[in-house]
């Protein structure tokens, strides 16, 4: 186990004093020691990335700094002075502002209010709406965000909402700005825009804490890295002095060769099967579509085949998946399963046909926070059996135990509440729930979003082995590498219609990007796939 005296790289000799210094921070939750003697510091004008797998304690550390959680032990110093925040308002008043992973804004209020709430300009004892809108418009302009500050926030896309959240944080005149996964819902241009803003804030001397699962982004923007693992401090490094491979190793803690092995195994084995003849068609969709969601689209999925859906955010990936999974009704077209036509009105009917949709929205449409790991795992199976035939407790325990072991779910015990698990483990619980009903077609919508490298590799491996055992998988991910690695065939969507259906042989990310970007005319596509 690493002691806190581990790597402390690059203490600037004559440099500025740290603006934030957290020492020996410990926080416990029922059954979990979330942080154990962790140290963390931030310097003015520096971007400091907090790295670690899910469950490493990043979120907990951030919440300790922002006053959401109290600390059990240890101290926090802000500009040399010892502080203790009891709520986020105090931290904010002290100059620490935060943009959380989920957009924590108020959709029912205007954009201007969301930027300014809590420090509205006042006139004659009341809020001065005109000044507020003007001020908000200035800030948004500084972010090159051209939206009406008087419009309701929830009339805008998630990416815009994220930028509004950042606009809010910037306006607080923060000394410390915490960005927790700010880029997960942004596209490439928006990320570039965000980084431009971050750099200008750096010049103003703001200390920025940056959390992201995208290593490229971390290396592009950050000056310093701190790695946590299982609630413990692993080390602090200067970005330029740390090789990526060493970083990943520090984060995962196991020998990197193991990870590479997983990677290559999936990859090479994948290559083998892609040589096989076309598999028997399990599901065929003919011109299925839904007004306002996706144009009529053809889609076939063979037994034991992994079909990847690629496309940008909003290209209709999720919409198509929801039609196939019976979540939304189709307006047009016909689904055929094993040769017989099928009309799906509810997910329940889909499940009866062993077609399962696992939502991208893990928290709201996936796990049930307040139930135990065991209850979450047996949920779909029980619902499928009908509530008048309860699954015997013994059988439930067996099921839970077997999936916890098979999927390597990190939980203290099967009775732990799912909300206390990390994102990656919650995702595994969700997978276990669907696997328990032995699906024929598993639709995975962004199963690896927001989870760490290790869990990601495990899930990829799992998908691969499921397909090998004859299960069909429709796999959606924003990460093209992942789609390429897992899929036998890739369907590319753009602007809510299908633009290509490519067999995955020797496809490269660049090829795929080109198709997504250009919507490639057919002949070009052929040559692209053939080369």
């Amino acid at each position: 186990m690493p002691d806190s005296a581990a790597t402390r790289a690059g203490t600037p000799g004559a440099g500025p004093d740290p603006v934030v210094e957290m020492t020996d921070i410990s926080i416990s939750f029922p059954g979990v020691k979330a942080l154990d003697g962790v140290g963390f510091r931030m310097f003015p004008g520096e971007v400091h990335s907090l790295m670690g797998e899910n469950g490493a304690g990043k979120s907990t550390l951030i919440k300790a700094l922002t006053g959401v959680y109290g600390v059990d032990a240890g101290e926090i110093r802000l500009a040399g002075e010892k502080v203790r925040f009891h709520n986020p308002a105090q931290a904010q008043a002290a100059g620490i502002s935060t943009v959380y992973q989920e957009v924590n804004l108020l959709g029912n209020l205007t954009v201007a209010e969301n930027v300014m709430l809590g420090r509205e300009p006042r006139r004659l004892g009341g809020i001065d709406w005109r000044a507020m809108r003007r001020r908000a418009a200035e800030i948004l302009e500084g972010l090159h965000l051209d939206i009406d500050p008087g419009s309701l926030l929830n009339s805008h896309s998630l990416a815009v909402q994220q930028l509004v959240a950042i606009a809010r944080a910037i306006d607080v005149q923060a000394k410390v700005l915490i960005l927790d996964e700010p880029t997960s819902s942004l596209d490439v241009e928006e990320v570039a825009e965000l980084f431009r803003v971050i750099r200008s804030l750096k010049e103003r001397g703001v200390a920025i804490l940056f959390v992201s699962h995208f290593l490229d982004q971390v290396y592009e923007i950050s000056d310093r890295l701190t790695v946590l693992r299982n609630g413990q401090f692993v080390g602090e490094y200067l970005t330029e002095e740390l090789l990526r491979i060493d970083l990943v190793q520090a984060m995962i803690g196991r020998e990197l060769s193991t990870l590479e092995e997983i990677g290559t195994k999936v990859h090479s084995a994948d290559r083998d099967t892609s040589q096989d003849a076309t598999p028997v068609t399990f599901l065929a969709a003919k011109a299925v579509g839904r007004k306002g969601a996706i144009a009529p689209t053809d889609l076939t999925i063979g037994a034991g085949e992994v079909v990847g859906l690629a496309g940008l955010l909003g290209s209709g990936r999720t919409e198509l998946a929801r039609l196939v999974g019976g979540v939304d009704r189709t307006d047009t077209g016909q689904l055929t399963v094993n040769g017989s036509p099928l009309r799906l009105r509810t997910p329940r009917q889909a499940i009866k046909h062993r077609i399962v949709y696992s939502s991208e929205n893990r928290r709201a449409e996936g796990i049930v926070d307040e139930l135990s790991v065991r209850d979450n795992i047996v949920l779909a199976l029980q619902a499928d059996r009908g509530w008048f035939r309860p699954i015997p407790r013994k059988r439930q325990d067996e099921l839970a135990a077997s999936y916890i072991e098979a999927l390597n779910i990190k939980t203290p015990h099967a009775d732990a509440l799912v909300k206390n698990l990390s994102g990656g483990n919650q995702q595994k619980v969700l997978l276990a729930r669907w696997l328990a009903i032995a699906p024929r077609l598993l639709i995975l919508d962004e199963p690896t979003r927001g989870i760490d490298v290790g869990a990601k590799a495990e899930i990829q491996k799992l998908v691969y082995s499921l397909a090998e055992n004859g299960m069909s998988v429709l796999f959606i991910s924003a990460e093209l590498e992942e789609v390429l690695r897992l899929s036998h065939r890739i369907v590319v969507l753009r602007d809510r219609r299908k633009v290509a259906d490519l067999p995955n042989d020797a496809l490269r990310v660049d090829d795929l990007l080109a198709v997504i970007a250009e919507g490639a005319s057919e002949p070009e596509l052929e040559t692209g796939a053939a080369s």
């Binding site: 904010q92 108020l106 009341g126 809020i127």
Partner: protein
Amino acid sequence: MSAVSVPTSGVGRLWSRTVDVFTSPKSGPVLVTAVLFVVMFLAGGARYRGFLSATTILNLMVSYSYLIVLAVGMSFVIISGGIDLSVGSVLALSTIIAARLLQFGWNPIVVILLILVITSVLGLLVGLMVHVFEIQPFIATLAAMFLARGMCYIIAKESISITDPFFSWMAKTRIILGYRMSITPSVVIALVVLAIAVWVLQYTRFGRTTYAIGGGEQSGMLMGLPTSRTKVLVYVISGFCSGLAGVLYAFYTLSGYALTGVGTELDAIAAVVIGGTLLTGGYGFVLGSALGVLVLGLIQTMITFEGTLSSWWTKIFIGALLLVFIILQKVLTSRRA
């Protein structure tokens, strides 16, 4: 969703803007209510002699000034995502406290102040139950409802009439606005309360925090807003308004009775919902709630004018209207989600 292509002509732009305003979950329902009110008023005027006049509206305000005050308090609670079932009982409680204490010969001003303190404290207790013990507002206010109703019977089982000169003066005084147009002081009080409420909700941090809680309490808390204080205060306001409404009701009826105001909480909720406030919180205008009261009153008046219909038809119309509005809200919010 529907990306409206910006029309170039002025008329087209005005039209798309109008469509936008009417389909926004924020302003849509209240505008529909306003249109409905005007249409009902004109239809009534076409059908009944003497209906289409300011007198009709002023009479409504005289009869329903207490309900306007109740609806104001209820708006705060519902916008914050809660509900207050106790307002009818608290109204009854304050009429009966007033009647009994005046019977003892207390000074009417002292009585009124005492009532407002008692009902505010009751609201405070409800707010603390909701906030500190995290009891659902439905349950906490249900408890308060039974408590207040029970206390009414402890004070007096029978109806007590009020003979106090100040109360009588308030009941009889008419402020003349023009030919056959007059209002009572109660209407002035209700309108002042309404004006203050509009200002508080729109122009104070407390008011905006109330909306924030309705929109997402967790988010509001993370944004550093004083959500706990606001949540408790919302119930204090509702308690205060119920007390004041009770006083206005006592002015109006010159009596106190344990059985008054049974079901009035539902009238207040109906008025708030018809006035465009979302039952799940986060959207709504207090002016809309006042408009909702007038719509309810107008239905009642029209049925009276009709003459042949039983007064139960009022309930049926209100029920149907509520249903329409709740569906409308559902459609508007899901479209924007």
